[in-house]
Point group: C2
Chain length 479, copies 2
């Protein structure tokens, strides 16, 4: 996995952080946070917090005490140990897009299917830059609603040997995820000792945690599986239109959710989540890759470090319908700050299109290229005598060229990042090759990748047990 | 003009800077730099530097003494004082693409013409984010070779009221630029007091300054017009393949040119130039928007500040043939680090396509959007009580939305960057509107911009004098 040893780009002054601190302290105390689950309310009440109806008015110092119980960093094991990841510190782990009900391949946009889900899972397996296929890469609309989580988890477990995300549609689905993870990793003990899945718990912002998400959080935190407590903030809709207000709300929501995890199981691994962008105030539609989201992202990293928590933000977000110029610059407008901030867990790293409604095959390839480029870029330079190449200048002299220099010959294979999508063909060659733009080239690449895909090996007995579980549970769920 | 009050992103340690310092000192002393102009050689010899044939072996401390004579910051006046720019410090000034012999509009790629030159000049005038149309926005191939510089300067002077770049094809062309600038600004004194043009002096890297560029440099520096001394480094061809070597060579070349300007006229304004990317080692073709160029760019800013010099780098570079996803991400892959580094003079900020061989109409629009977004993004947050919007939370409560909140109503027009190219239309609306991708939408925008263009007013007598100069000189040049 990628470890980001470059400096962090921090833009908040100490004063600014102190002001934001005063902001969330007031918000969490005076407005409080709604938890739509009686167990959560009981836990907070037992811990001495003021509870009225569904609202918990939290003491900020109590919240910080809970936050301090969470690990600053932790591991998630993959069934292929080489693909295990570390969450926190300088580590950055990347998962594919999460949640789209639709897919786009070339000119066609349509409902996503289980076949698409499997395809994207295979694509995620095939790119080293991705640490995970994620969870709901796309919604498999052609499978029964109540049991499709079983199909998704099974696909993630068998088509990749990377870490995967748990289902959060209900407590039942979360429990199934945990059970199947126990099967894959041999025992409950194994996954309690080193977590083997990570799950997204979204806030129903502003300031409300909904029942189904909380059910899932209870399951995962009890099993010591990390949860990503994520305020879902499109400024102008789910938060005020000013970035500082969004940051204050984000802290309030994330820390309140993290505090709950610590009440469920002290020391349970958590991630400070952020999904922060803005709407278009003229049309009301969500926008991504915006200047505001870039700023929010940089601030989020600094804030998470302020609380000593690993954090999730970023991705290859865009509002664009297709993998065009806007998709390219908006994705990078999110992903480059993601690296500058050093985000630890990055969802939506590949395939996000149309504001997250669409998983795009071509966009997946564009994003994989961007991700690889940035992983290359955020690798510190080695500056020493050999790298300054005085000998090459002696060899080449004034006005010459370095193509054949010894210094070049020794390094030419690995000296530069080698793109697999970007073209630097000259015009004549590009025309000869069919004048394919990036979208068209990406279309050829994902098809080839799927052809070349090789399923990672899995013990037959384990596979059989997983299949048995899926069949049994599907029957129990009535699908 | 834009002033970048955000922090700089610096990635070189003190040790690394010291190592690079030892590198350029050795290179400039032992390998030296070629100057293909007798006047330059004479100036260096008179100043006590060792000269053999065309090579000057420079004493690094002598070079630093010369560099110290250059102003750290300076102004360039535009004929509309509101468009005057400051070069250096936190200021960032942006010019359009420079040099392409071809243009692309939509599907058509063809030789550039004077009509294209005028169109791009008008487009540059129409975007506030651009401080200059630049110089050779495209090569007007349908005008006579020896006098086309007159047509270009005249167009820049009359179709925009922003600063413009001088012609550098020869000393004669430079002298014409200076003369026409004297006419536009009333006198030689006026432009010597506050420069009114800026010119690009490219090095014939490695380590050679060619005769025609030097002729132009002599003209401009003698007239106190700023020159941008720019090593032209495509790593693997004009420099070794390692970034530290490229940085060392860049320092050597830029400082040697800057030293010459100070010998021509002590205190002459100069800019530390950088044009640093790499070739594809498999094909030999130049590549842009690469990880290596991004790293080089960040280092360049830090190095220029180390020498107390304003610097030029960055732009919206790409190898792509068309304004597609690659063009979008490569342009931003260059432009975002340009802002992180705080480059003072940014050429190629709009319209660069196909490795600089093509001025793209659609790409111009894409780049203008990127530029506006980044100018918005790199504006520091104001964090105070009002921006934290506690009142809005009191009004909205848990699970509500902020669309109609008072705090929103007071700010909705200006709270977010408003794109003019990026679309966040939903699928149905996008389809209804003709399912135009970004390239297609950009095509409509540049045509509309040209229709809406209004020529900035100019005194009739000045215009007549400029025209008279162009007619006379064209005759003298035999065209």
């Amino acid at each position: 996995m990628f470890v980001n040893k470059m400096p962090r780009y921090e833009i908040l002054s100490e004063d600014a952080v102190a002001t934001l601190d005063s902001g969330w302290r007031r918000l969490i105390t005076e407005i409080g946070v709604e938890f739509m689950d009686q167990r959560a309310l009981d836990l907070f009440a037992q811990a001495g917090q003021k509870v009225e109806d569904n609202t918990v008015f939290l003491d900020p110092d109590f919240v910080l005490e809970q936050v301090a119980k969470a690990p600053r960093e932790f591991d998630i094991q993959a069934r292929n140990p080489e693909h295990s990841v570390h969450i926190g510190g300088d580590s950055m782990a990347f998962g594919a897009v999460y949640g789209p009900p639709f897919v786009r391949e070339g000119e066609v946009r349509r409902d996503a299917t289980m076949a698409d889900f499997r395809n994207f899972t295979k694509l995620a397996q095939s790119f080293d830059a991705l640490d995970s296929a994620g969870g709901v890469i796309c919604e498999p609309n052609d499978t029964p609603l109540d049991s499709r989580h079983l199909d998704m988890i099974y696909a993630l477990q068998t088509l990749t040997d990377k870490i995967y995300m748990g289902n959060v549609v209900s407590g039942t689905n979360a429990a199934d995820t945990v059970k199947m993870t126990e099967i894959l990793f041999g025992s409950r003990e194994s996954i309690e000792q080193t977590p083997a899945t990570i799950s997204l718990i979204n806030c129903n912002s502003p300031l409300r945690w909904d029942d189904r998400m909380l059910e899932a959080q209870f399951e995962y935190s009890a099993a010591n599986q990390p949860v990503v407590l994520t305020p879902f903030l499109l400024m102008g809709a789910m938060s005020p239109v000013t970035i500082p207000a969004a940051l204050v709300q984000q802290i309030t929501e994330a820390l309140s959710g993290i505090a709950l995890s610590q009440l469920i199981r002290p020391g349970a691994p958590v991630v400070f989540g952020s999904f922060l962008s803005n709407i278009n105030m003229q049309s009301g539609s969500p926008t991504f890759g915006t200047p505001e989201s870039g700023i929010g992202l940089l601030c989020t990293g600094q804030i998470a470090r302020h609380f000593g928590l690993p954090f999730r933000t970023g991705g290859g977000l865009t509002s664009s319908q297709v993998a065009d110029a806007q998709a390219g610059y908006e994705a990078l407008m999110t992903m480059l700050p993601t690296f500058l901030a050093g985000a630890n867990w990055v969802m939506h790293s590949a395939g996000w299109l149309e504001g997250g409604l669409v998983a795009g095959y071509e966009k997946f390839i564009v994003d994989a290229e961007i991700l690889q480029m940035l992983q290359h870029e955020f690798t510190p330079l080695e500056i020493d005598e050999a790298s300054m190449a005085f000998d090459a200048h002696q060899e080449v002299g004034h006005g010459g060229h370095f193509l054949g220099a010894m210094h070049t010959m020794e390094r030419f294979r690995t000296c530069f990042y080698r793109p697999f999508l970007s073209s630097s063909d000259n015009y004549e060659r590009w025309m000869r090759n069919g004048s394919a733009d990036t979208n068209a080239r990406a279309g050829a690449i994902w098809k080839q990748r799927l052809e070349d895909y090789e399923q990672p090996p899995l013990d037959d007995a384990v596979r059989a047990e997983l299949e048995e579980y899926v069949v049994r549970r599907r029957a129990e769920l009535g699908d």
